[in-house]
Symmetry: D4
Subunit: 160 residues, 8 copies
């Protein structure tokens, strides 16, 4: 769908940034045998076109005392409330992901909490939003995979 066309140099730059967002542009330039200015221009263009939307730090939540992960399915009284409820959910920082979904739930969220007791509080915050009529929770016993890098590399390999 993107009108903007990435060429092989863009892919190689992205491949390096995916592995380490903090890699200096001079290092990228050296490896690709191009100037640092070119790297800068290319990255800028990918940011302007909206392909690169930012970067995020990866922290060890367990070390920070947030080892509890749960998925919460939300049933609404009426789907016309979807936008309103999502805005309220957006005010709860413990919700890191939320989707409008097909199937039995109207909205499906991922939450991170400190422990069972804290998770209960977060779930109750969601339950208490006007328009939410019930929630169902599924608890993660282990986060086995959380890795977008494999997908990103695959996308650029496919595009080449």
């Amino acid at each position: 769908m993107s009108k903007f066309r990435l060429d092989e140099v863009d892919h190689q730059i992205l491949d390096m940034l995916i592995d380490n967002t903090r890699i200096p542009f001079t290092d990228i330039a050296k490896k690709l045998l191009i100037s640092a200015g070119t790297v800068h221009v290319r990255v800028k263009k990918m940011e302007d076109s909206g392909i690169i939307t930012g970067s995020s730090l990866s922290l060890d939540y367990e070390k920070l005392g947030y080892s509890f992960i749960a998925y919460v399915g939300v049933f609404l009284n009426n789907t016309s409330q979807t936008k309103f409820v999502l805005e309220r959910i957006n005010e709860i920082p413990y919700v890191t992901v939320a989707h409008v979904t097909t199937g039995k739930f109207n909205i499906f969220c991922k939450i991170r909490a400190k422990d069972t007791k804290h998770a209960k509080d977060v779930i109750f915050m969601i339950d208490d939003i006007e328009g939410v009529y019930r929630t169902e929770t599924m608890i993660s016993l282990e986060e086995s995979i959380n890795d977008k890098k494999r997908l990103m590399h695959t996308i650029f390999q496919e595009l080449d």
Copy 2:
């Protein structure tokens, strides 16, 4: 649970890195009125202690032709196969997240695909893993929230 104790300067450094992983250490230093060397030492210490585990690029998947998101619940024949199946799932780059869960599913995955047809292929890859006896799929109609930054800021505010 972390034995390593973060002080307020660490929190302020993290707060800035969370918003922009590529911010130069000299900028952080200037804002906090400390030396760039100190920033470097602090970040290094947080990396060594495992609090910071890396950084990741945020791309616009829709612009890259990957607009289809689904959650796939996996039923195993037997939980003794969990580790084996997770290793197989880990070979499918379109699976970006996988959890061992309570409730009706044994494993719960998030996948990104190009379209309905591609999603079918990815789901069938999971279905065909030895030990998987059924899957159930819930399709995302809209990814409304995907933001760990709010949580990260909240964690460091709480710790202060």
Copy 3:
């Protein structure tokens, strides 16, 4: 239940029309060694008795940009609203089939949409009808069979 009795000539005419609704009556007549007038009279009689209710064009929806098919189960607040809700659903052209059903749903619909985003809009239209209290959606990954002709031929073979 039909009082009207079809004879073997009717069956042979129907068999040809099932395969090609646009076949000229003169072609049918030639094959059956009867006059075109007879064909005309027979078809007219089957239309008047309500056996033949019309004909419909088969288009390639995918080529027309409508590749998304879903089944939507509708729960009503009260079955006394069934007729009213069906009239509202009937105003949504993206709903091509709707049934009053046994089991967990009150009404069960088939929809065709352009893509995930459009499907969401159509589902929300249904959800917003007064009297609808929830919907559940099941998405088609592939329309493998859509063929009434086999059934029609079978019916007339059985009747012979």
Copy 4:
């Protein structure tokens, strides 16, 4: 997705054929103030490009003794059997529609039968296919809408 571009004349021809597949081309020509030859060429082109894939007769199944409609959800032992099972299902003429689906079922079928007893026989035929491990049936109490014409007209209005 279609490379072939339909113009307004094509849409008007399709609009007339949708309502009556047996309408003579001379009638279409008269209404659109073009020659019958042009109509013929246009329809031919739409057939060659695969937009028009055929036409089908609409019969009153109730009058023909087939008043029983059910939806049958099929669970497979393994999705690798999907293609094989669909080929077996395709040999049962009472199955008029079959989809590979997300959600709890692997395959979802629509069947038409004479009565409860006949429906049982058809369901048992599906159940007995190798690779099918269970089916669940939902019975239609009334086919309230079965109409693709509204959608077709809408598609061409949108395209204009």
Copy 5:
């Protein structure tokens, strides 16, 4: 729980009546080598004590045009309405059995109807009772066993 104790003669009388409620008391008497008066007294006593509560005719519902059997699970808004709703259900003659149940349903009914259309009407009658908030229907494809006689004989064999 019964204070009233049945002896072997009672059991033998019951065994004969179970097989044929219209058997003359003189026949029973002859077989058991007792007087018809004794049979009469014994039956009267069993009726007075409430062990025998009546007799019912067995008709072939299919021959009478009532071949459609369904089980309807009823969800109430509130169990305090159970008694009221059962009284309303009791006014619908097509409901032959109704239970207050554990599990997902509050009330569970068996209905007999003429055909699919009639069944829909009966289900809608139940759905329209005040206090009923939803129903779920399961259709019988075949009544394979309907026989209390085996149980009755077993009870009296056990008691001997």
Copy 6:
């Protein structure tokens, strides 16, 4: 569907027998102002044509120590085993009703038992039949309606 036509006299005879299967034919004759012989002939004819299939005694199961009623849904490994499993179920006298059903169960049974412990034994008998892969039980807390007479009277009123 019955070819045999009942007239009003038949209906009146049936109406009386429904209420009391043991009513003497002379009583029926007197009320209808016909001869006892006519009553006899009519009843015989209805028995021969299969409309009347017998009669059954109504006992108070609670007084007999059988106060526990449950519905047991049976899942089969394969529907081809339906006939075989029903024959095995038919050997368990505590099963008074069994249906082949649509929906999630393959077979649906009604059982009567002495108490919780006995019910467990009966359920385990069903579970242990070859071909049965799981059962689900729903327990009756109260048998509120068990009355075919209302339906029978309604049928004959409708026929008049």
Copy 7:
């Protein structure tokens, strides 16, 4: 069902033991104005008749590091394995309660674990028992009531 009849003195003794199992018999004797020997005899008789089966210490599991409670529903391949599986479950000390149940599960357990990770290990122990084909887990967010004393007092009040 107990043949052994408790009198009011027994009830009063039980009422005191329920509140404090370690209360000295002399204290009970003083309060009831009977001899300590009588208390001893009465308690002995209630133990011999099996009414009193023992006593148990109440510990604060949270203080002992066991704050995680979950209910685990177990599906068996076949109910004939129930006894065998229960013996295996009985070897897992983290399972404190297990029932054979009606409804969707064959066996229903309560477990106590240290945390999410430990709970996963316990659930996997159950899953790995031969004959267990799946489990479903429901996690307790708060144990709000765990009190048999109210019931015990009620029983003896009712008996008086």
Copy 8:
């Protein structure tokens, strides 16, 4: 989590009390070769720190006429009512355990009743609490394990 540290003597004392809460302190002292005063001090300290919260009598409920056990899942209209509903549930002595849970239920209770009829009354008491919108009941056919002692011994073995 407990700040209070138990040493091996505490564990040995607890091990003996777990098996018999009524064991005299002099018996414990003799076995551990310490003074009865030390036992007293140790137990007092464990009570004061909240590790030992009491003791409870084990009665044979079946002998007392309470042989019916059920699990009741409670759905609330809104989780903000959780506290209020738990207070009402707490007034029903037949509810011995209640948890706030994840999954489909908001509250999950264990009840003990005399028989099916009594269970119905208890379930209806819960259903009639304001804020409860539905309940689902699962009946125990056999309480196979109810034993906290194994867990307690395991905890103290692990701690050593």
